[in-house]
């Protein structure tokens, strides 16, 4: 099968052992020396190298009207307004790796039991919500084996690290816990 994601075409190939596959159909008596594998069920997804020029496909979502979204949500800022500093995000990197990466991945890509925290995964979970909601979810439920165990400032730093990985632009002022409810998580304006 093939599809678009973020305007890029992918080809996905599910593989594995189904009905009437060799592993199930060849009599074991005939090939006792061949050890039957488990199914190896998996999906392999291919795309053209990112630096190859491709035609612009249809956007996968309607363009986000940043101001409109913020107004509708009752906030005046979005994550694209430079609401944290690079230094703050760098402070959050170490505690992220120490407390979060085991489940969510060093690259924030997530794992089989933990959602990804960047890109489409992040927007799927958190798009349309405020940073306050995200911060409170992290602060009160994470890490799952010891929720609310870190200082509030550390949770805030980790939050800004997640914002940096998501390529939300850094600005001049540090993110303040008081401002979180006024900042909306949206997709990139015009994307």
């Amino acid at each position: 099968m093939t599809y678009l994601a973020g305007g890029r075409q992918y080809v996905a190939i599910p593989v594995g052992t189904g009905g009437a596959s060799w592993a199930g159909m060849v009599p074991r008596d005939l090939t006792p020396h061949i050890r039957r594998p488990t199914n190896g069920n998996s999906i392999h997804v291919f795309a053209l190298p990112a630096d190859l020029p491709v035609a612009t496909g249809r956007s996968r979502t309607a363009a986000t009207d940043r101001d409109g979204a913020a107004v509708a949500a009752g906030t005046s800022l979005t994550v694209w307004d430079g609401v944290y500093t690079a230094e703050q995000a760098e402070r959050g990197a170490a505690p992220y790796l120490e407390n979060c990466a085991t489940c969510h991945g060093e690259d924030l890509g997530g794992g089989s039991n933990s959602p990804g925290l960047r890109g489409v995964s992040f927007q799927f979970l958190w798009g349309g919500k405020t940073l306050h909601e995200l911060y409170e979810a992290i602060r009160t439920t994470m890490p799952t084996d010891n929720p609310a165990s870190l200082p509030r400032e550390t949770y805030l730093d980790i939050l800004t690290y997640m914002m940096q990985v998501n390529q939300f632009p850094a600005g001049d002022g540090e993110l303040d816990a008081e401002a979180l409810g006024n900042i909306l998580i949206t997709e990139e304006p015009g994307a």
């Binding site: 099968m1 009905g19 488990t38 199914n39 069920n41 392999h44 496909g57 798009g127 349309g128």
Partner: protein, 479 residues
């Protein structure tokens, strides 16, 4: 390298899955509908090119995408960008769906996952607790396809249930049982959405029991069963005499184990059935046609009414299944239906009426002769299995074609037969031409093609009075 790392991590994570189920409850943050666009019937009828909303891409089952970034010129440059280890507790024949950059994946063991289609990140997972020993057995746990409609994902399970999940969280919304697994019933094919109804066909119908295989329509909102159409003619019903005098208990098979197609203009669901069970006439106890086995059924998605049927292989006797995907292709203004089963015969019907149009034998079978003018299938007497008599038959019971679906290109002239799977019998196939020609047996008129009958809610009675032309009587070999 990054992809390999991801794969390795996924594998490692999967192996620890059972240990971390409790953590999953808290690790998952509830997802609101923000960013999720509900799927309408109109979107299913005419999906955007980048979507894949039906198990075969579109409801006509072409398996065709108009996307054109990847071409024959640059296909050699494709690179692996991500990989995902699926549930590995059973066989898999999965057809994922794509909606707005999210991939929904049916897994063995009734597991459904939502992945970020750009990088394979897991968004959610539905993993019901295993019940008893339901993993690993052949065919058990296979989920071929799922459906998306509204804000829900719909599946059908090895527990003979149809279920609805919240497409944004994977949470179970409803689950409806349709049959008793103790009788062998289970699903391997999932639902399709037709005119706002879920249509699903069951399988595991090989055992003797006072019941028969069926296709159902369900309300996607509530899971309520709206209709049920049997795939086997019961004694006393129209077509019931095609099983000889066998009581209901011995009328088995006609499994509906591959999801069908839908024509939204005609408002017809096309669902096909498998061979009768047991496969061989000599074991089955009848050489009758055994309706509605190995047939295409044209169903009203609102009522389940059987609008017409066409039986490809009356009285099948070699395990040659015709259940597979149904391609809907318009050719020169005519609405056609294309189909191919294990024998490797490409059938063409008029999908408005069920009228036979053509049959092309691609030449890998030695069991039957098919008349291209009438569709009549004549079994070669020396190859009809008798107990204790060895025959050399082609193809094997794996078939020339299996469950792997055939794609269609934009033009019917480009209809591809290359994905048909030749089995290891190339030499034997030629033996067909060495078979002496036989005289055409006398044709007899068939009652099945002209029957008009009143229907009851659970009876697949052919209804030909609603302005549709009935398919003409098809001559058939006397036996």
């Amino acid at each position: 390298m990054k992809s390999l790392t991801r794969l390795a991590c996924s594998l490692a994570a999967m192996s620890f899955l059972s240990a971390s189920l409790s953590a999953q409850e808290t690790a998952f943050v509830p997802v609101t509908e923000t960013g999720f666009v509900p799927v309408t019937q109109q979107m299913l009828n005419d999906p955007e090119p980048g979507q894949w909303l039906h198990w075969r891409g579109t409801q006509n089952a072409w398996g065709y995408s108009p996307l054109d970034q990847i071409t024959t010129a640059n296909v050699g440059q494709l690179q692996l960008v991500w990989a995902w280890a699926m549930d590995d507790t059973g066989p898999q024949e999965a057809a994922p769906l794509i909606h707005n950059g999210v991939m929904y994946v049916p897994n063995p063991g009734n597991v459904v996952q939502a992945l970020d289609a750009a990088n394979g990140d897991l968004l959610w997972e539905y993993r019901p607790e295993p019940v008893g020993d339901e993993t690993g057995a052949f065919g058990h746990g296979v989920q071929k396809n799922i459906a998306i409609y509204g804000d829900r994902i719909f599946g059908a399970s090895s527990r003979a249930t149809i279920f609805a999940l919240d497409a944004t969280s994977g949470k179970l919304i409803w689950e409806t049982r349709t049959a008793d697994t103790a009788l062998g019933y289970r699903y391997t094919a999932g639902p399709i959405v037709a005119n706002g109804k879920l249509v699903t066909g069951i399988t595991g119908c090989g055992r003797y029991k006072d019941d028969v295989c069926f296709i159902t329509g369900h309300d996607p909102d509530t899971g309520e069963e709206l209709w049920r159409t049997s795939t086997i003619a019961r004694p006393g019903e129209p077509g019931g005499d095609t099983w000889g005098d066998l009581p209901l208990r011995f009328r088995a098979g006609s499994d509906a184990w591959i999801a069908g197609s839908y024509d939204p203009e005609l408002k017809i669901v096309y669902w096909a059935t498998s061979q009768a069970k047991p496969w061989a006439r000599s074991v089955r106890g009848t050489d009758g046609d055994a309706l509605y086995t190995n047939s295409s059924l044209a169903l009203d998605p609102d009522t389940g009414e059987l609008l017409w049927y066409y039986q490809y292989l009356p009285g099948e006797t070699h395990d040659m299944d015709e259940v597979f995907e149904t391609l809907l292709i318009d050719v020169d203004g005519r609405k056609k239906l294309y189909k191919m089963g294990k024998l490797g015969i490409l059938w063409q019907l008029d999908r408005e009426t069920g009228e036979f149009l053509d049959a092309i034998d691609v030449g890998y079978q030695n069991l039957v002769d098919v008349d291209r003018g009438t569709g009549e299938v004549t079994y070669r007497p020396e190859l009809i299995p008798e107990i204790g008599v060895e025959i050399n038959m082609c193809p094997s019971t794996s078939g020339f074609k299996g469950w792997r679906a055939i794609p269609a290109a934009t033009s019917a002239s480009c209809w591809s037969s290359t994905s048909g799977r030749a089995t290891s019998c190339g030499g034997t196939a030629r033996s067909r031409r060495s078979t002496p020609p036989r005289s055409r047996p006398e044709a007899e008129s068939s009652s099945r093609a002209t029957t008009t009958a009143t229907s009851t809610p659970t009876t697949p009675a052919p209804a030909r009075s609603s302005g549709r032309r009935g398919c003409p009587p098809r001559p058939r070999a006397s036996r």
